[in-house]
Symmetry: C4
Subunit: 365 residues, 4 copies
């Protein structure tokens, strides 16, 4: 996910994909296990007329489901991106690319194709690019526009992954001036930008800063799903870096649980994507009930993608059917209605939210 603009980046990308496929890289505790939607025994709806479509940054999506930013930047990933893009295109949902840094910095047609394949097979889908916040700081706006142009992106995701960088021995751990860079790009870029975490969540305070900086959407990517600290701990073990392995393991579970992060962000921004451990259409429904515009999944799409577009489509249709079922039994004919459905918060997530809400109140005063 991170890269130093060399073929080193390419190899790391390969490492990451392999670790994600072979090791246990998921945590638990998104907080959605503490969110209970209230059953509506009398939905007064026709299931077949339920419409999960949303408008997102001016585009119509058939369902509030995002294939989260994952890959690109290595020839091996071309097939994965082709499958994901074709599936996004056929089902009408959004898809994010993995970091485009390698595409901007390496002069290699094979690498480039791992990105461009996406727009080739999905001319009309909502596709968004990806760069790290640290890159924004270094690139001028023309370079950022090249990333957009590379895939005719509908939007650009800017990822925040400072914990991962801190666990990587070679990580870029200078976090200064990123907010200013984000603000600049948000103002000048030809497409809207989505700021996203990568598995540790976004707090209300950060969401407030991002809102003020003019960011068009926030993707929380909270705790409970893929853990990049965990992934880097495996890499550090292989590289015989015991201290980094130790830190990666210690921070494996670090972050704001996705449900809590979503609740914090929706108080500050009106276009929030909930991701990080979202695994079913029911999770998507819960995310929307607590205020998100959509839910995103990364890892669950990786294995189907290696099996081709049909497997990805199958998975998306599962998710949509699960979501529609949740909509049906909460009496929600549309995503707008689902956003207003009743829910109950329990356990640790309730404690988390109660305390954060009262301390946020203190911040406001």
């Amino acid at each position: 996910m991170t890269e130093q603009g060399s073929s080193e980046t390419e190899d790391r990308k390969d490492d990451h994909i392999r670790i994600v496929q072979e090791r246990d890289v998921e945590t638990t505790g998104t907080g959605f296990e503490d969110v209970h939607l209230v059953h509506d025994a009398l939905p007064e709806l026709d299931y077949d007329a339920i419409d999960p479509a949303i408008e997102f940054l001016g585009h119509e999506l058939s369902a509030p489901i995002f294939i989260e930013s994952m890959t690109g930047g290595h020839r091996n990933t071309t097939a994965i991106n082709r499958a994901l893009a074709r599936a996004a295109s056929e089902t009408g949902i959004a898809m994010g690319l993995g970091s485009q840094r390698a595409g901007l910095e390496l002069d290699d047609d094979g690498v480039l194709e791992s990105y461009t394949v996406v727009r080739d097979v999905a001319p009309d889908a909502f596709i968004y690019g990806n760069l790290g916040a640290a890159q924004l700081r270094e690139y001028d706006i023309e370079t950022v526009e090249r990333a957009v142009a590379m895939i005719e992106a509908d939007a650009l995701a800017v990822h925040l992954n400072f914990l991962q960088e801190a666990v990587q021995p070679e990580g870029d751990v200078d976090g200064r001036d990123c907010l200013a860079a984000i603000e600049r790009v948000a103002a000048d870029l030809s497409v809207p930008i989505i700021v996203k975490e990568t598995g540790n969540g976004i707090s209300g305070e950060t969401a407030r800063k991002l809102s003020a900086a003019g960011v068009h959407a926030i993707d929380v990517a909270g705790k409970g799903g893929t853990t990049w600290s965990g992934i880097e701990a495996y890499r550090a073990a292989t590289a015989n870096e015991p201290r980094q392995q130790r830190i990666g393991t210690l921070f494996r579970d670090w972050g704001i649980p996705t449900a809590a992060s979503t609740l914090e962000c929706v108080a500050e921004h009106d276009c929030v994507i909930a991701s990080g451990g979202v695994r079913t259409g029911l999770d998507v429904a819960k995310a929307i009930a607590v205020g998100a515009r959509a839910g995103g999944l990364a890892k669950p799409f990786l294995k189907p993608a290696t099996n081709g577009p049909d497997a990805v489509i199958e998975r998306i249709e599962d998710l949509i059917a699960e979501l529609r079922t949740a909509m049906f039994v909460t009496g929600s004919g549309s995503i707008d209605a689902l956003q207003r459905t009743e829910y109950v918060l329990q356990g640790e997530t309730r404690e988390y939210v109660e305390q954060r809400t009262s301390s946020e109140k203190q911040l406001d005063s």
Copy 2:
């Protein structure tokens, strides 16, 4: 429990009974595990004088226990219904029939007998019929009266089972206009109507609508007992329908826990039956303490019923003895007194109820 008015219905009924008998079709978490009745060390009562009788829709029942709607519509179920009805009759409790759709739509004496046997062996018992809300919408009032007449019903239960329908590949998932149909039948039918769920519970909001529609009683049939999503997941597996199996499994635990649903409904209606995972006379006592008029059980009666009336009577007498013991040690000489006994709510059920109560307050204002 659902049926498309053909012999397909008959076969499905058979499938269901078999699955219920052979597989794990029960969830946990009715919420009664979080309800603690307060011991009265000095009950100042004669156990033998404790009277668990109630008045229900104008009839006297010897105890606040319902044999919930289960079966009928297949020749194989005649013996089951005969045993249940004889037991209800001898012990003086209420009994519900399974859905009568097959009885109305099929022209088959064997099928019909599976219903009529009930009144034959229990001329004086409180027996109530059963139709789906979707059927009410389609039938005119004369057809509904035929269902009543079929068994000289004392009341008609109208079941809501939209989640089950959504899990069934062949399910009827049009939920529109059911409330209006219920209102119409409640006004016009010759006997009172009981609206019931089938394992996912009824919320306060729905109870309010049902009250306004003139429904005479509500049976919550909440989460924690028999799970129809779970049952349909098994059927889907057999039918090689992986998506439906997946959804059935995902929603296996869906619903409002029975104790919470009871607390929500009693705030909106004064005649509430608590069912869904009620398994002992102590559960019945708890249900009444939190405000229900009676408790109902379905699955626990199925196996005894296949062994004949005596086994069912034995089971009912167990339940009554358990209930009377709970009445004794809470110092409750009557069901009215039991309804006023002290209780404590803990754990998740307390969280659930606290939040729903405060949000209901918001709804009211």
Copy 3:
């Protein structure tokens, strides 16, 4: 513990002792696991000067520890009572006898000796007799005085055990007029009376009635220790009484947890003994911190008693040393000080007490 005034009583007593010794007859969850005394790192006390003595109903006890009512009424229990009484005498703590009904109703010197042995070996100890509330109702005051005289009792415990009676096939389940009988005996008897439960606890409401009836002390005997429902379930199994076995098992855990019951009772009476699952001197300390005057134990003394007085003394000295240690590290030089020490309530017990306190408030208003 119960008896019908015949040698049947004697046999049952024997059954009970055997079951208590051989089977699992203890529950968990006294609530003391949720009570945390606050450490005092600077106690400013000399451990050797800590004085755990209390005054109890006009007598001085060396420590606030009661050997709870257990046995008598069978020749086999004479040795047990001798050991307990000798230990009580040597250590200066209080001892209760088991029910004296057999002693009053049977004309048998061996049976009588099982009681009288206590005063023989412990001429100066605080010894209290025991009768059931149901007996008080039947006996005139002279008969009750005979029970007192039998052992020159310093007080009389009146036990409430209606749940046990309800589980016993042959139980006395008429609970009427017990309060009036208690009030009469409290007023007329030559010695004070202690009303005690036997493992299911006493609520605030009951404590209030007992206070008004002039009872001199209340022994909560709450949930969390020996379970008489459980014991009777074993007896019912042997006697082939499946329904009673079922009820005994269902109500095995019934009752108010000892810590919660203590908190409820101390709000209504100023002389409360906490018992039911008290197992260590630390439990005794917690009981006192939440407001009890003393803690009592039954089952833990049974096995030592079968090994003779020294084993019982050893056990009592263990308890006192544990209690003194708790007093030391809470900076409590006396039982009075311990009663004022800081504590924290957590978990289910906190929930229990919070709700009961707020509902008691409603009762008051």
Copy 4:
């Protein structure tokens, strides 16, 4: 940790070290598991510029990490102290010595060297001495100054370990007049004093008394790490002292959890060290977020110390790297900033703190 001023002390010290190394002497439940720091996805900091240095009692420390008081007083411990001191010196953190009583009372060069070695190898480090509160009471100020001079101490830690003393058969259990002695030494000694527990924590009330007595710092040494009751239980088992073994085991978990104790103490004193079960740099970060000035660890340094200075340095650098990572991802460039970072309290620690805070409020009024 305790000593009677004879070679008996020396042997016990040896016993203790051996038990700590060979047996399970750690409890769980520091409360830090319930403290959740809030992730800052946009730290706007350069990791390399993060400065974990603190000022402590007028000295600059490179990081807020204390090697807690452990050993000395036996020739075998010289090597351990040498390793710890060298590591403290090279990394710039603070180190406490074990109790100096043996050094003051035994006339033995080998014993003395086990202390003096520390200053020999760490001429500039912040090193603090150690005496028990009971000793302060017995020694005149000149004797206490000898302990300071022995190692040219920068401060003196006074330990409170009354629970341990109560568990030891030979313990000194007279706790009187310790506060006065502490007050006297705090006023007269040439260096500041730190009052510390040894694993059971310090309450708000005690912290208030210590503040009033002029103590310069408080080290909570709360529950959750090394348990001296547990250690003494092992010793009692070996010494065939069943009652002491029983008490040690019963009080194994006794005490105020470290996080709760820290929160109580920081309300009363502005220089608090959190210790007792601190195991990682993330624990140190949490301790600081809830208000501590620094975190201390004892047992985790023991094994590395037996392997020499490099192993200890390695461990310290791990801790610092973990702490810096926590600072980075909470956006805290300095320890001051970390003290203001947002956190959430959950579970038992939240319950503990809520109740203690409200009762403290009562104390104040």
